[in-house]
Symmetry: C2
Subunit: 169 residues, 2 copies
DNA sequence: CTTGAAATTATGATGCA
DNA sequence: TGCATCATAATTTCAAG
C-alpha cells in the first residue's frame, strides 16, 4: 500500500523565483536542518495545523523550492577520507562531447559533483577517494586518459565547510 | 512532548571506515535517494522488520555513516539562479586567520560551500547569487576588500551535475 | 532478529472564515 | 482560497520473546 510515491506529478518548472511567506520560510529552514522532522512537529513549530503544513510542504516541492530530501553521508565512515577538486581543460575541438563525457564521469564511484564552468571553458570534478593511490588512478584513468581532455590540475581538499546555503532569512 | 531530538548522544567520531553489511548498504542507498522514506517502507524494501530497520538507521547515524538528513533546495526557486566558484589566494602572512575568515564567509547568504585547499594554499568559495551584480558585490565586498585576500578568480557555473556521490555499490 | 501492542503520526474529507 | 477540525489509516517505537 505504498510502493512508489508519485512525489510530484505536475512539477512546476523552476523557471523563476517563488514567493514565500513566513510559514513557508520557516518550513524550509526546518527541513533543511533535518529532513526527517515529522510533519506534526513542523506544524507545531511554525504554528499551523498539520494538514496545512502537509499542503505547504507539497507545494514547496511542486514549485521547485524543495527538490528532494537526501541523507548526508560521511566520507570517512564510508572509506573515502580524501577529497579533491580536479580542474579539467578540454581539447578545443572536443567541446561537443562535453555533456556525455561529464555525465559518464558523474556516475563513477566517489564523484560528488561535476561543475561545468563558463568562461574558462572547462569543468571541475569534486571527488572523494579511498587513498592517494586511488585518487591518482581516478585522475589518470578517467581524465588524463580521455581523448577529450587536454590537461588536469588536482587540488586536495584540506577541509570542507558547508555554508549556510540557500536557507531564507 | 518532543521538542529537541537528541539524535545521537554518544556519536562515534568518524575516524575510520565502518563495516557495512548488505542491509546497511541498502538502507543507505534508500535514504540517500529519499531521506523521508518511512521506516516501514525501508524495512520492507531491505527485507527486515521495521524495528530492526530503525536500529540500523540509528546505528548508521551513530557511526557517522549518515551525518544528517537535509532538504535539497532549488536555487532558482529561491531567487539565486547564478552560481559561481571563486578561487581565493591569501596574503602569505594571513594564513593564521584563515579559519575564522572562512567561518565568517560560510555564514553569508548564498554561500553553499567553502573548500580549504592544500597545495595551492588558498580556498574555493561556492556561491549562489541573485544576479551578476549581486555576485560582483559579494566578491568585491567579502573577498577583495578583505585584508587577508591577495587575489580572487571567479568562474561562473554553467551547469551543476550531482555525482553518484558516496553511495555504496 | 522478530512479534505484538501502545503511542504517535500522516492524510484526506468536510466545514468554516 | 486557505485553513482547521476530525476520523481513519499508517507508522514509530519499545518491551518481550
Amino acid at each position: 500500500m505504498d510502493e512508489e510515491r508519485p512525489v510530484a506529478a505536475n512539477m512546476i518548472r523552476p523557471a523563476g523565483e517563488v514567493a514565500l511567506d513566513d510559514v513557508d520560510r520557516a518550513i524550509v529552514r526546518i527541513l533543511a536542518a533535518d529532513a526527517r522532522t515529522p510533519n506534526s512537529t513542523i506544524a507545531r513549530r511554525v504554528g499551523v495545523a498539520p494538514s496545512t503544513c502537509l499542503l505547504r510542504v507539497r507545494r514547496l516541492q511542486e514549485t521547485g523550492v524543495v527538490r528532494g530530501f537526501h541523507a548526508d553521508l560521511g566520507p570517512e565512515a564510508l572509506g573515502r577520507p580524501l577529497q579533491a577538486l580536479v580542474s579539467v581543460r578540454l581539447q578545443s575541438h572536443a567541446r561537443a562531447a562535453l555533456g556525455s563525457f561529464a555525465e559518464r564521469l558523474a556516475t563513477l564511484p566517489g564523484v560528488l559533483n561535476v561543475f561545468f564552468l563558463a568562461g574558462a571553458n572547462d569543468f571541475l570534478v569534486h571527488v572523494a577517494s579511498t587513498s592517494p593511490e586511488d585518487l591518482r588512478e581516478f585522475v589518470v584513468r578517467n581524465l588524463n586518459a580521455a581523448r577529450e581532455v587536454a590537461s588536469t590540475e588536482t587540488s586536495l581538499v584540506f577541509e570542507h565547510v558547508p555554508g549556510r546555503g540557500l536557507q531564507p532569512d
